[in-house]
Each structure stands twice: as C-alpha cells, then as structure tokens.
Amino acid sequence: MKPSAFKYVRAGSVEHACALLAEHGEDARLLAGGQSLVAMMNLRLARPSVLIDIGRLALADIAIGTGSVRLGALTRHRMLIEHLGLRRMAPVFGETARYIAHPTIRNHGTAGGSVAHADPTAEIPGLLVLLDGHVDAASQGSVRQIQGRELFRGAFSTSLKPQEMISALHFRIPAGRWGGNFLELAERVGDFALAAVGAVVERDGEQVTGARIVLLGAESVPVRASAAEASLVGERLTESVAAQAGAAAAAAQRCYGDVRASAGYRRHLLSELTRRALLTAYARAGAAA
C-alpha cells in the first residue's frame, strides 16, 4: 500500500493552481487536506500523474454575511466546530462537522476537498445542498458558480471540469427566526453514515414559514425532500406533522441497499431522522431571538 509515482507541484495561488490544472488536464489532481485522496492513492485506487498541492493557499477563511456564510475551500472541518461566529449564527455547521470522521482527520480535511470528493454520504456536500449553497469553481481567467444541487452527479462524481478548482463555498442562511439540525446514524462514531438528515425550519410564531430537508443515504448524492418541505409551510410543526413529513420525505426515495443496511432500513431511518431533525430545528427556531 504505497502510492504510485507522481509529479508534485505546489501551487502559489489559485491562479497558479488553475494554470497547472489547465496544463496537466485530467492527469492532475488537487491535493488539499489529502485525507481521502492519499488513502485512495495508497490503495492505488487513485493514481494521478500530477499532484497540485493547494494546501498552503490562504483559503481557510470563514466569512459571515447577512444571510450567507462563505467558507474558503481550505476551511478545515475542525474550524466549523470551533469558529465562534459560526457557533452563534449557524451552529448547524459545527453540529454537522462533528460527524465527520475523527478529530485528527478534522484537523486537515477541508470543506472544498470534501465537496470535490463527493462521497455519497459526506456531510459537507449535504450541508451545501441543505443550505441552498453554491461553490465558486475557478479556472484560468474565470470563476463560475455551481449550485450545490447541480454539482453532485453521482458517487464520487461532480460537474466540476478537470481544469476547475473549488475556491469557496457559499451557504444561504435564513434571515428570520430559524433553527437547524443535522442527525446521522452510523455504526460507530465517525463512520460513513447509514443515513443522515439535515433540516432547517424558519418560523413565524408557531407557523412554519420555510423548511429545507436534505437526505443522505437515499441516492448516491444528497437529495432535497422538496415535497415534504413544501407541505410544512404554513403548518404548526407538531409531532404528527413531523412524522408525516418524515414519512413523506422517505417514501419518495428509492434508497440503496448494501452490506451495511437494506434499502428498506435506510428509508425507515430517513423517515425517523427527518422527523427528529424537523422537531429539533423547529424548537430551535422557536428559541432563536
């Protein structure tokens, strides 16, 4: 389990990284935290001929705006847990990041890397889709925005072009009273999720004014439960409403089965986790100032 040989180049800037990507094309891979990529290289499941190390670029910043959060692509998972502003404004970031792997991995794994890797049950992609986010995809001389919902094509597959790199991630945060919750069920702490659900609820008094639900484990990409979201608007989010929404969100999913869990079990978990996440998010929205 030693990687095959490659050429190593350290990028000095985003522009430099993009130029290198343009130069080397599909043979090149970006190396950010390397927490998934290097493991895959050791197993020789990945064998890029050029590694462009972007790990030292100054892209590890968190910016909180009105109704938005911007993460530099190299924001480490640990920063999402510890960042004071995020903890105040959108604690769902830290709550989600706590499910990512293990503390040592969270020191180095990056938000942009996680999104580009596109593991089907990875948390940051889920958060991006939940919070109507988009990424800045930089290439030589230009930057385009890719909406989270269009970014993920399948397991480990995105709509990024070979010459593009993610430079930042943008998340839309509700303006009014809102609450979020992210719940995940895995066999052990830090494992890939059997199923996970993120929910955001906005409320005005007792009434839901907006809801977003993302499901992980339903498809090979994070999916939004749009019909269930719509059904909640205008409702008082009671136990039974939450349960119905959970059931509706899950019933619409195909779900996949594997050695860990059957499709039926995953569907059941999505229903139950949706129910719980909605209730928690709703209660948090109520408690929010």
Partner: protein, 786 residues
C-alpha cells in the same frame, strides 16, 4: 503436582506495573518492519484476483522490460513446497496449499507470484506489471454451494468438499430424546471475521555469510514451531535455522500459524542469497492471512418439564475456506465446538457431528477463543430459549443444569478441575439486579432495556494428551523456561513463548522474584527467540502464564534449592530452615544468620571453591511443564445491558460486567487488562466485525472503513470481578485467561437484545439493520429476567 512458593509470596498477586512498558510508550520497541539489513530485497506478492480459477499463464515480460533489476518467481520455480496441515483422523481429506499457486487458485488473495526489488515502493510498481491469465472456475462461495450435489471438488481426488466430518458421542441420546418432555431445536449462525492485530504480519530471512545459518525474523506467536516447519519443508537441519520474533504488535491467534509467506521468504533468502523482507499490508491482512468463525450450528435439546437437559444433539458446520492451516488444521474450529458444547452443564447424553467445508475464501484459522465464542453463543442462546419456552427464569434454568461436584468428568470424558460456576451466577445476579429492574419498566416509550448473560468455561493450558487426541501437527502441550542467575545475582529468564501484549516480562519476573528472594526489576525476561530458549509450542491456547510461567517458577525453584544448599553450608543450618527474601538467604526467625544472594551467586560461578563438596558450579536451570491432560478450566459469566432505540434500531451497550475465575492471579492489573481486551474483541464479534464476500467470492470488506473494529466511543467501561479458585492440577493453581474475555460477549449481548425486544437473536453481528428487522418481529415476551 501442586507447587507452593516456600514463603509468603511478595510479588505474586501484586499489581506490579509492567517492566516492558517504558520502551513501548516511548517508541523504542522494534518490530520486524523496523529491521533493515544491507542488501535487503523487498518482496511483493502478486495475488489472485479471482476466487477460483485455473492459472492459464503468468506473463512477466512487462516486468522484465520495465524493471530489469527485479526478480520474479512463480509456482513453477518454487515447486512442490507447501503448507501441509493434515491429520490422520478418519474422514480427513488431505490437501496442500502451494507456497505459490501452481495450476489453480482457490481464493482471492492467494499468492501467485513473488516479485523482488530493493525498495518497498518500486516493488509494488513492479508487481503490478505481472500479468496473470486466469480461466475462471465455478466459485464455491458458501456452504450450500460447496455441498450441493455436483459441486466441483476443491482438490483432486476429493469426494465432496469436506476437509473433515466427524462425530463425538457420549451417553444414550435416543433414550434422552425418548424421555424428554420438550424437544427444542434451534439454528445459530456466527459470521466470518478477521483477527486484525494492529501490526500486520511480516517476515525477514537472511543467510549468514557462510550460507550455513538461516535467520528468520517473523512476527509470529510460535517461533519454535515455525523453525520445525521450515526445517521440514526446506529440508534444512533444524539447528541451522534461527527464528526470532522481535517485538510483536498483537497476535490473537492470527500469528499462531506458519503461512505460505513464511516459507516463501525463507526459500527466497536461500535461493537469492540476499536478505528478503516481506511486510504484509492491511488489505493483504484482511483478505489473505486467516479468517475466523463462520459457523452454523443446529442444536436440539431434550428437556424435562422442569428444565433439566437430558441430552443435546448438535450439527456443526464451519465454512473454513480454501485450505487447512498449519498447525491447527481445518478441523480446529468445528472440532472445538463439538468438544466444548456441553460446557458447564451436567448433560448425560450428547451427540455432535462436525464438519469443515471447503469454499473459495480465505482459510479459517485460530483467533481468540477458537470455536468457543460460537459454541458459547449457541449454548447460551439455547439456554435462554429453553428458559423462555418453559417459562423458567434463565438463571434458574442454568442452575438446574449446572455441574456441582468437582472434579467432574463430562460426557465426553474430559475432567474439569474445580471452578466457581454457581457462585459466579449468584454474584452476577446481584451485580445486574438494578438493570433487570430497569428493563422491566422502560422509562421512555421508544427505548427498551435488556439484560443478558452468558455462563461458560474455558479449557486452558491443556497438556499433551489433548493434542495427541486431536492428531493435529501441534502434537504436544508443554511449555518451557530457562532461568539463569548471573554472578551479580541478576537473572535472565528465557521463555520459549512469544509475548505480544500479555505482560510475560512482568508476570514471569514476579514468579521468579518470589522464588529467588530478589526483585522483579532484577530479572530480564527474554522470549520469542529459538536461539536462546528451550523448545516450546508457543503463545496461544490461554497457556502462557500457567505453563510458561509455571516452567519459569519451577526452573527458578531449582536455582533456589541450590542457593539454599550453598547458604545452608555457610550458615550451618538445615536447608528447610532457610528462606530467600530481600536479596538474602537467611535462617527463618533469626535475621542475624544471613548471607547475600549476590554472594551465593558469585560463589556458584566465580568462587566455586566455596561450594559444598560435590556440587557442580553454575546457576542455570531448565524446566518443562506439561499441561494437565484435560487442561485447567477457567470459568466466567458475562452480563450485558443494552439499550435499544425502537425507532432506529440503534443498540447501545450500557454496561458489561464480568465475573471470572482464573484461579491464582499473578498480577491483577494484567488479568483485568486481558479480560477487558478480550471482552471488547467479543463485543466486536457481537456488534460490528463482519468479513463479507459476494457470490463470486470477491471480498467486500477489505479496509477499516468497511471492516469495523470496536472503537472507544461505542463501548462502556468493562467491569471485572474475580473469584479465585486455585486449580489443584497446575503450578500455583494458575489457570489460563487470555482468550476467555472474547468468548462470552456475543452470547451475553444477544441474550440482552432478546430480553429487550422479546425476539430471539440467532445470528451475529447484531447490526442496527438486523436489530431493525428484529423490531419488526416484536411481540411481548413470555418470560423475562436475564
């Protein structure tokens, strides 16, 4: 053969911190992979990618073109060398695992070609360029396929795909059945697992400059057995092979085998006259070292109205994979189940049929517990199911069937030394009583609490007769030690065992220190080296402290007697009045009449004119201690408390309580550590670890993201309680305990899940997905309790 320490033990029984730890916590330990020899070549194996195929051709032209300095060897080069692990028991179908596959491959990961370069990175590049052309054969991926009529035979001249099919019987099973009020029949399954020490396997072999001495450094639990096997297979004299196991990073039975790679590396070192290094990687370890378990047991109990088991019939099938492992053979796991199923219960009629089925998977070998975790799972699940069916409290049912008199000879003729089966049940009942209460009255509607237990015994430190009966290549059951006191009164102990976490360097020092009146720190215990130690069969089978420690204790006793004899002459006292303590030989009750042990040690070796007339110089002794014919029986009861979330299937282990009896305890800290570590491996078997193959025999769980080992967050503190019933048949009354922890958890946890849900659990691992399936079958339970 009870040995008594001549005076009040000072160190035996004490919580002594481990002498080996300073080097281990500071990175100073050296494992096989840390050894670098001049001119060394690195070996990478090309391994079969198919589960069952004919080898059409092996094309090395790209290798030669791309890596002109690389060496490559195939089965054609190495010839008939193999792993031959056969016994002459009737019904055994013999087989040989070639060191490198020749005509055929039989599991994914089987070595096909050996590639050598000077670097561990380039050798992987080179090995990738070897092109193997396979002609696929039908895959025997499971027991059913392998035993189906018309299934292709795994080996030439085989009839049916069984390594062995045997029966063991005792008493009149037909009469038991006829007299029974209830016949209770159940099927239980335990999954395939991997053993997974944190250090993978590794071997280095090198010839000395004369070409006469072959030194093999191997991460092995059995250095002497490896030497014997290598000598046989390579046709070398045994005195010209040195096997050294340096620091070994865990074994758990996995490293208690001689593998094809061990033979291959030795052969390559002879052939190339270069040092050869092979370090297994984690994927190789998971797919191609040994696996464990994968049992199906069909049990039928014949029971009276009161719950007394009159007879037990068992049909035991183990999917043992592609080859028979050396030295334990393919019969090891199923044979163990057939042997131990009667357990701590007084059962008057017994009939077991066991079979080892050949399939296209990694061979099954010995892993902590060897068959017993599966046997106890079935036995203790069955006890619970009988209790529920008859409406009897499960502990009461066990008590009604328990052996009460010792020594006890069971229905197969095995004699159990004294244990504490009944006391341990009483104790565990008290310990978990609050949880049993909580389980009756759940506080939250979606949470259920369950309490389950497993009572079992473990045959440990079994002696030669037990292995003669098995007719496996182990053959003997003794252990050895050489003790030498040097002129400055420091002591070397050379044990034939190999220590990889058991703390022998400390516990053996405790035993010897008490004999010689010195401190454990004065004693250096060396192990894992055939050059320095007498012959030994190695560290496995919960035998180290009893037999290896017993041998060190006895050898030290010989030196003690000699020191006392020298002192007796000098002090003008009778030997029986002299004790060794505080580095002195002194007359009991008269501290003024004393002489330093150091003086005696110097006299014995450097001033021999001071010795009594006729006494030979020297302070060295060797002892061999054979185990009791049927071993010594450690007993334990494990209790698990689980909390199950009915809405997710999530299972949380809230408590795990052990009451164990391993006789005389040498170091309670180490005993607790062994028990806790074993228990957590058993919890892994119960909840997480599962090695999965698809129907084509392709392994699906080849890394630590897919093969799930127990990690800290999912575990409670393991509570350990002791009862000490010294064995009358071993040195100092010690019994073995290394494996016991791993034996009970699957049964205890399954019983707890059954208690929580009111649904029987008949298969492990008990994953959330499986729990959810059980929840869907829920109905109120007939009888509760533990």
């Amino acid at each position: 053969m009870t040995d008594r320490t001549p005076h009040q033990p000072r160190f035996v029984g004490a919580r002594i911190l481990r002498l080996e730890d300073p080097r281990l916590v500071s990175g100073q330990a050296r494992h096989v992979d840390d050894l670098v020899l001049p001119g060394m070549l690195h070996l990478r194996l090309v391994r079969s990618q198919l589960a069952h195929a004919t080898l059409a051709s092996i094309d090395v032209s790209a290798l030669h073109a791309g890596f002109p300095d690389a060496l490559v060897f195939t089965g054609q080069d190495i010839g008939a060398l193999g792993i031959r692990a056969n016994s002459d028991l009737p019904s055994v179908q013999p087989c040989v695992q070639p060191i490198l596959a020749r005509e055929r491959v039989r599991f994914v990961g089987e070595p096909v070609a050996a590639v050598l370069t000077t670097d561990s990175y380039s050798v992987e590049d080179a090995a990738e360029t070897v092109f193997v052309d396979y002609d696929a054969l039908p895959v025997l991926a499971d027991i059913e396929t392998a035993l189906a009529p018309g299934a292709p035979a795994m080996f030439e001249n085989w009839r049916g795909n069984l390594f062995i099919e045997q029966s063991r019987t005792g008493g009149d099973i037909a009469a038991a059945r006829a007299r029974a009020r209830h016949v209770i029949r159940r099927t239980y399954r335990n999954q395939r697992q991997a053993g997974v020490p944190m250090e993978c396997r590794g071997v280095i072999a090198a010839l000395d400059p004369t070409g006469r001495i072959l030194t093999v450094w191997s991460s092995t639990q059995i250095p002497h057995l490896m030497r014997t096997y290598l000598a046989q297979e390579l046709n070398w004299q045994e005195n010209r092979i040195h096997v050294i196991a340096p620091e070994v990073g865990g074994g758990f039975g996995v490293k208690g085998h001689v593998f094809a790679e061990d033979v291959l590396v030795a052969w390559l070192a002879i052939r190339t006259r270069r040092p050869i290094k092979w370090i297994e990687d984690r994927r190789e370890h998971l797919i191609a070292s040994i696996h464990a378990r994968e049992h199906v047991h069909v049990l039928e109990a014949y029971v009276t109205a009161e719950g007394k088991i009159l007879g037990l019939k068992a049909d035991i099938t183990v999917d043992v994979g592609a080859y028979s492992v050396w030295p334990f053979t393919a019969a090891s796991d199923p044979g163990m189940v057939a042997k131990v199923l009667p357990g701590p219960y007084d059962i008057a009629a017994y009939e077991a049929t066991y079979r080892a089925v050949a399939t296209n998977k990694c061979p099954i070998g010995t892993y902590r517990g060897v068959g017993r975790p599966a046997a106890v799972f079935s036995q203790e699940r069955l006890m619970n199911e009988i209790a529920i069916e008859l409406g009897i409290d499960p502990i009461t049912l066990r008590e009604r069937n328990l052996i009460g008199q010792f020594p006890y000879t069971n229905i197969l003729g095995y004699t159990y030394d004294k244990g504490s089966y009944a006391e341990s049940l009483v104790k565990i009942r008290e310990l978990v009583a609050p949880d049993v209460e909580r389980a009756r009255k759940p506080e939250k509607p979606h949470i259920r609490i369950g309490v389950g237990l497993a009572l079992f015994l473990e045959q440990t430190a079994h002696g030669t007769p037990d292995f003669v009966r098995r007719r496996s290549p182990i053959e003997t059951g003794y252990e050895s030690a050489k003790v030498e006191m040097h002129p400055d009164a420091t002591v070397s102990v050379d044990s034939g065992l190999q220590c990889h976490g058991q703390g022998h360097e400390t516990t053996f020092a405790q035993l010897v220190a008490d004999q010689l009146g010195i401190l454990p720190a004065d004693i250096l215990v060396r192990h894992g080296n055939t050059v320095t130690s007498p012959y030994s069969v190695g560290t496995w089978g919960s035998r180290g402290i009893t037999l290896g420690g017993g041998a060190a204790h006895r050898a030290a006793g010989i030196i003690r007697d000699k020191l006392i004899a020298i002192a007796a002459q000098h002090l003008q006292a009778r030997p029986e009045t002299i004790e060794l303590a505080d580095r002195q030989a002194r007359v009991k009750g008269d501290p003024t009449r004393a002489i330093g042990v150091e003086t005696l040690a110097r006299w014995a070796q450097r001033n021999v004119e001071n010795l009594p007339p006729g006494m030979e110089p020297g302070l060295i002794a060797i002892s061999f201690v054979d185990g009791p014919p049927d071993g010594s029986y450690t007993n334990a009861v494990h209790a698990a408390v689980v909390e199950i979330d009915l809405s997710t299937g999530q299972i949380k282990l809230k408590r795990f309580v052990v009451v164990e009896d391993c006789g005389t305890i040498v170091n309670p800290m180490i005993v607790d550590g062994q028990v806790r570590g074993g228990v957590v491996q058993g919890i892994g078997s119960a909840l997480w670890e599962h090695f999965v193959y698809d129907k084509d025999g392709q392994p699906l769980t080849t890394n630590f993201a897919d093969y799930l080992l127990p990690s800290a967050p999912g575990l409670p503190d393991i509570e350990v309680h002791h009862i000490q019933t010294p064995s009358p048949v071993t040195p100092l009354g010690m019994k073995g305990l290394g494996e016991g922890g791993a034996i009970g958890p699957a049964a205890a946890i399954a019983n707890a899940v059954e208690n929580a849900l009111g649904v029987p659990v008949q298969e492990t691992p008990i994953t959330p997905s499986r729990v959810w399936e059980l929840i869907k079958k829920r109905k109120p339970i007939a009888a509760g309790g533990v």
